[in-house]
Each structure stands twice: as C-alpha cells, then as structure tokens.
C-alpha cells in the first residue's frame, strides 16, 4: 500500500517540521521572559559573583542562536555536562539538563509521561462513553424530557472549570462519603487495580468537561445519519429500531467523533495541568507550570515538544482511523 507508506512519510516530515517550528517559538518566547534565571538557580541570597559563576556554567550569557544551536546539537549528537566530580554524557535525543534540578529533561519527561498518558487515556475512555452515550440517548429520545435533562447536565459539566468539579467531587466522594481513597498516583505496572481506583476521580472530572462537546457532536451527526436513505432501506426490510440506531446510525456518527477526539486528546495531554495540580498527580502539565514559573527553559522546551508531538500524533492517528472507518476517504 504505497499510498499508506507515502502518507506516513509525508506525515513524519510534517510532524518534524511542526515540532521544530514549535521549539523555535518556545525558545524565542522564553528567551525574552524576564526573571534572572541565574539568580533563581543560584538561590535568593547568592552574591553577584556566585550568580555570575552559575550563569557561566549554564551558558546563560550566550546569545539566543548559540543556545538554540546547543539544543539542536544535543538532539542529534548528545551533550556532556560536568557534575563537579565527573563528566556525564547525555546521549543522542538529549533535551539538556534542568537548570533547577540538574536532572536530564528526557528523564523527567519519561517518568512523568506515563502519569499524564494514563490520566488522559482513562479520561478519554470515560468522555467517549459518557459523551457518545448521552449523544445517542438524546438523539434517540429527541425532543423528549430525557434529551433536555441530558443536554442541561452535559452543559453544566462543560461550563464548570475542572478545578471546581474536581475539588467538590473529591470533598464529597473521598471526604464525606469516603467511597474512594484520596487519589495518590500508583504506577500501572506496580498495581493496576489501585492505579485505576486512584485515577477514577481525576478521570471523571476531566471527562465531565469534554463529554458535553462529544454529546452535542454525536447527537447532531446521528440525526443527520438517521435522515439518510439507507436507514429507510433497513426500516423497509423490517430491521428493528435498536439495530438501526446501534449499528447504522452510530457507525455513521463515529467518523466526526474520531476527528474531535483526536483534537481533544492532544490538547488534554498538556491541558490537564489543572487536574494534575488539583489531584497531585506528578504529570507533565504540573511540572510544566512549575518550570515556566522558574523559567527552566530546557524543561519547558522539552515538555512543550512532547505535548506538541502527542497533539500531532493524535491528529495523524485520527486521519488513519477516519480512513479505515470510511473507506471513501483517501489519505493525503
């Protein structure tokens, strides 16, 4: 299927170009951000001399293009850093070291990525079930009370910021009703059952926000599909209403849902920062907000690239799923 190979090649090149452009944007934006990085890294009571030493060590006084060149070098060849007693080599896709913690940025990302992914994947499953489910129900019960109630509920979820829903849910469910333990992140590999229990609330709060847009989209596209001729054909052959809605109308609604899902999934990886902050999940978003506040450029660039990568990846996967679902679409 050279078509698919061609598509893959074009998309990879496109992705790389996009990510490179993003890294330039982030470097420029954060280069002009005020805040004396050396002073912050060195500590509040450092003398000007000490601050100067730290600035030299982190190449902070180099011009922008030199620092960006170092960044690119790191990506391709890797970089050497001195830990004082020895020299540490950070191998090829090296995103540099955090100014604050001297940890390899790639290491920070790899430890935090599974947290963000498990939060967003779980939330994605929930918002698909909630959103599409509500959409199907309100399309089926069109005009009746159930549809109005469902629409109002999903809109309520959508209108309330996540940090309000999250906290209220937590206080009620974990605090007063004590149905669930307070969320603490447990690695999936360590204990899958605990992992799921602890992430249930964060998933729910994130999903409640996104469910509304899926409900609206599913309802609209299902109504559109139900008005099409082939539904009439199957009715004329005595196929039951349940099968018609379940098999045919829902399948018709899947394609746009896939496209919207890709978009929401991508932005959720970065955007779940509020949920991560509230529930204390050590994810990408939380660390990114912290890194921005202390102007820790290597961490910020590394994280924004990873998040950007997931957004672009999510869109590419959506295009492929779209083409698989609807063979009429040709992958460009």
């Amino acid at each position: 299927m050279t078509g698919f190979g061609g598509f893959l090649l074009r998309r990879t090149i496109g992705t790389l170009a996009t990510l490179l452009a993003i890294s330039v944007i982030v470097y420029v934006v954060f280069y002009v951000t005020p805040g004396n990085v050396a002073q912050i890294t060195c500590g509040p009571r450092c003398s000007p001399e000490q601050v100067h030493q730290v600035a030299l060590q982190l190449h902070l006084d180099d011009p922008l293009y030199v620092r960006y060149w170092h960044f690119l070098q790191g990506l391709v060849v890797g970089q050497d850093y001195s830990t004082g007693t020895s020299v540490e080599h950070c191998s090829a896709p090296c995103l540099g070291l955090s100014y604050q913690t001297d940890q390899q940025v790639l290491g920070i990302i790899l430890t935090r990525l599974p947290v963000s992914l498990s939060l967003v994947f779980g939330a994605m499953v929930l918002w698909l079930v909630l959103g599409v489910g509500t959409g199907v129900l309100s399309a089926w019960r069109r005009g009746r009370l159930t549809e109005r109630v469902l629409t109002a509920l999903t809109l309520a979820g959508w209108a309330t910021p996540v940090f309000v829903i999250g906290l209220v849910l937590m206080i009620v469910v974990c605090g007063e009703l004590q149905l669930l333990p307070f969320p603490q992140y447990v690695k999936l590999t360590d204990d899958p059952e605990q992992w799921a229990w602890n992430l249930l609330l964060p998933w729910l709060s994130l999903a409640l926000i996104e469910a509304a847009s899926f409900a609206r989209l599913t309802r609209a596209s299902m109504l559109e599909t139900l008005a099409e001729d082939h539904i009439r054909t199957f009715r004329a052959y005595g196929v039951g209403e349940g099968a018609i809605v379940g098999r045919h109308a829902l399948r018709g609604a899947l394609a746009p849902v896939i496209a919207l899902n890709a978009n929401n999934f991508g932005s959720a990886v970065g955007g779940a920062v509020l949920t991560e902050t509230l529930f204390g999940l050590p994810g990408l978003g939380q660390e990114l907000v912290h890194a921005v506040s202390v102007v820790d450029l290597p961490v910020v660039v590394g994280m924004v690239l990873v998040i950007g990568f997931f957004v672009v990846l999510a869109n590419a996967v959506a295009d492929v799923l779209y083409a698989v679902a609807d063979r009429r679409v040709v992958l460009t």
Binding site: G14, A17, T18, A21, I22, I25, V26, V29, F30, V32, T33, P34, G35, A152, L155, A156, W158, A159, T160, P161, V162, F163, V164, L167, V168, I171, I209, S213, R216, N263, G266, S267, G270, G271, V273, L274, G285, L288, V289, V292, S293, V300, M303, V304, I307, G308, V311, V312, N315
Partner: protein, 334 residues
C-alpha cells in the same frame, strides 16, 4: 457577532437587503427557546454594561472591605445566614474580605463576558481569514497555512499564556492582554472548520455561476462564500465563548489571569472552590452565572444557525420564503 457575518443581503441592493436582515430576525423570533436565550444573553450584556448603575442602586461597590461583616477568628467566614445575605448586600458578602458579592458578580460579568466575546471574535476572524485563504489559495498556500494551523493547535494554550503574560510589561491593561493571548493562540480549530466548509462551498454550482457572471475571487468570497460560512462559524462560536470563559478562569487559577482588584468570574471561582463547605454561596454564584451564560449561548447559537437559513422559513411558518410558488399561467401554456 458582527452584523457583517449575519447579514445575507448584498450591500449594493438596499431594497431587498433590508428584508434579508428583517427576515432573519423574524425567523429568530419564531423560535421560542432561542428568543428566551437571546433575552438572557441581552440581559447579561446589559448587566455587564450597567454594572456601575446596578451597584450604585444597591449602594455598594466591588472593592470596599467590610471587616465587621466577617468572623475573623473563624478564617473570615461571613456572619449571618446565607453568607451574610441582607437588605444592603443582596447576595451576601465575600469571605475574608467582606466585599459585596452582588457588586463583584456584576463587575465580574464585565471581564468574563468581555474577554470571552472579544477573544471569540479574534479567533473567528483569524480562523475565517486563514481558513478561506487556505481553501481558495490551494497548492503550496494551502500546505503552508495548514502547517501553521497545526502548529497553533499543538501549542498548549495554558503554557504559552503563562509565558506571554509574564513577558508583557505591567503597564499593558491585563484584561486586554488576556483576551489577545487567548484570541491569538486558540484559533486553530475554527480555521480547520472554515477551510473544510469553504472547500465544499467552492465546489457548488452557484459559486461557479458567480464566476461565470464575471465576479472576481475576492467578491465571490465575500458575497457567496461568507454567507455559506456563517452557519458553521456561528455554531462553533457559540461553543467557543464558554471555552474562552473557562480559559480565563484557568489562567486565574494559575495566578496569571486578570489581577485583583478587578473581579472576574474566573477569579471568584479560583478563590471560592476551597470555601465549598464553609461558605457554599461564594462558589455557587459564579458557577451558576457561568452555567446560565453557557446554556444561553449554546441555545442562542443553535437558534441563530437555523434562522440564518431561509429554508427554515417554511418549517417555522414565518416571513418570506415560507410558501410555495404556484405554477404560472405562462408555464401551463408553454
């Protein structure tokens, strides 16, 4: 929504044009839910604009502290039932500061709605410009603009906002800055929708007919494509406004939104969520206001989209375009 988007008449022909706009309003009024929603949105805008008048009526203002009305020993929780609800504090007082909640909610509407509307207008205009240009440009223009759109979709709004809001000097008015930041970063999706819709419209016969009658590309885009784009853009805009309100609230949560003492619903929500148990009305008021705004905007959006399409006239049984044209005598005889 700027009038240009909604109007369906050709500018040069005032006679039939006016009827186009008048028909739109008749079709909108014919839908009960949309009319109620339009009323609510109008009320909200009025409240936001007349904030000083309303607070003067109540005899309060959003910034004066009332230490006497809060119990300092218990963390500053308002004294009295329902959060200090009283004759001169219609909606009670704010914990810790004792400021009048009604005044803050009303002034808060200014910022939240102002930022949301303005940011949405920026996103819509940018999305329209890029979307239409990409669809009509074709070839490498399309590729370039689509790539740029991908980049902006990939940039996490929160993080870029955090950085940008830290860079701009303090003299710059913060609400305007927040609007520009949200407006200029989160326009990717609408550009994609506009591009897709323009591509479908471009293929229709009546656009080809317009080309045949000699109109230039720019004129066709404005007169034929834009009205066709109005419906999907309005629908998406009615989704964007609530998203932008929440974005402002999220920025306040991260401490970079609108700064005290300017009140905004986002600010109030950020402060109020911990008071969920001790002073629940402090949380329920802004959250309720937000919910009503979102509901009204969504219903109004659907209503406007239906009213924009003349074919709805027959379904709604109102105004021009609702009847069937009988067969003319000449047709019979031909």
């Amino acid at each position: 929504m700027s009038e240009a988007l909604v109007a369906t008449q050709a500018p040069e022909a005032p006679a039939s044009g006016a009827s186009g706009a008048r028909q739109f309003w008749r079709r909108l009024r014919a839908q009960r839910a949309a009319t109620v929603a339009a009323g609510i949105v109008a009320l909200l805008v009025l409240v936001a604009l007349a904030a000083p008048l309303l607070t003067a009526l109540e005899g309060q203002d959003p910034t004066t502290y009332h230490p006497s009305l809060i119990d300092s020993a218990r963390g500053g929780v308002p004294i009295g039932s329902l959060g200090g609800l009283s004759g001169d504090h219609w909606l009670g007082v704010e914990p810790q500061t004792g400021r009048d909640l009604f005044a803050r909610l009303v002034y808060g509407a200014r910022v939240s709605l102002g930022v949301a509307f303005a940011a949405t207008v920026i996103q819509v205009l940018l999305g329209l410009a890029v979307g239409v240009a990409a669809a009509l440009g074709g070839g490498w223009i399309d590729q370039l603009l689509s790539r740029i759109t991908d980049i902006f979709v990939a940039l996490p709004l929160m993080i870029m906002a955090l950085a940008l809001l830290a860079i701009v000097p303090q003299s710059f008015p913060r609400p305007v800055l927040v609007t520009l930041v949200i407006g200029f970063i989160a326009w990717g999706n609408i550009a994609k929708i506009v591009r897709a819709q323009t591509l479908t419209l471009k293929g229709l016969d009546y656009v080809a007919a317009a080309r045949l009658s000699g109109w230039g590309a720019w004129h066709i885009a404005r007169r034929e494509l834009l009205p066709g784009l109005a419906a999907p853009v309005i629908t998406y805009a009615s989704i964007l406004i609530p998203v932008n309100i929440s974005a402002e609230a999220a920025l306040s949560f991260l401490g970079v939104g609108v700064k005290p003492p300017t009140p905004s619903w986002g600010q109030m929500l950020t402060a109020a969520d911990v008071w969920y148990q001790a002073a629940p009305q402090y949380l329920l008021l802004p959250a309720g206001a937000l919910f009503v705004t979102v509901l009204a905007m969504t219903v109004l959006g659907d209503g406007v989209r239906t009213a924009l399409d003349p074919r709805a006239a027959s379904r709604l049984g109102v105004g021009a375009g609702r009847g069937r044209v009988a067969r003319t005598a000449k047709e019979e005889s031909a």
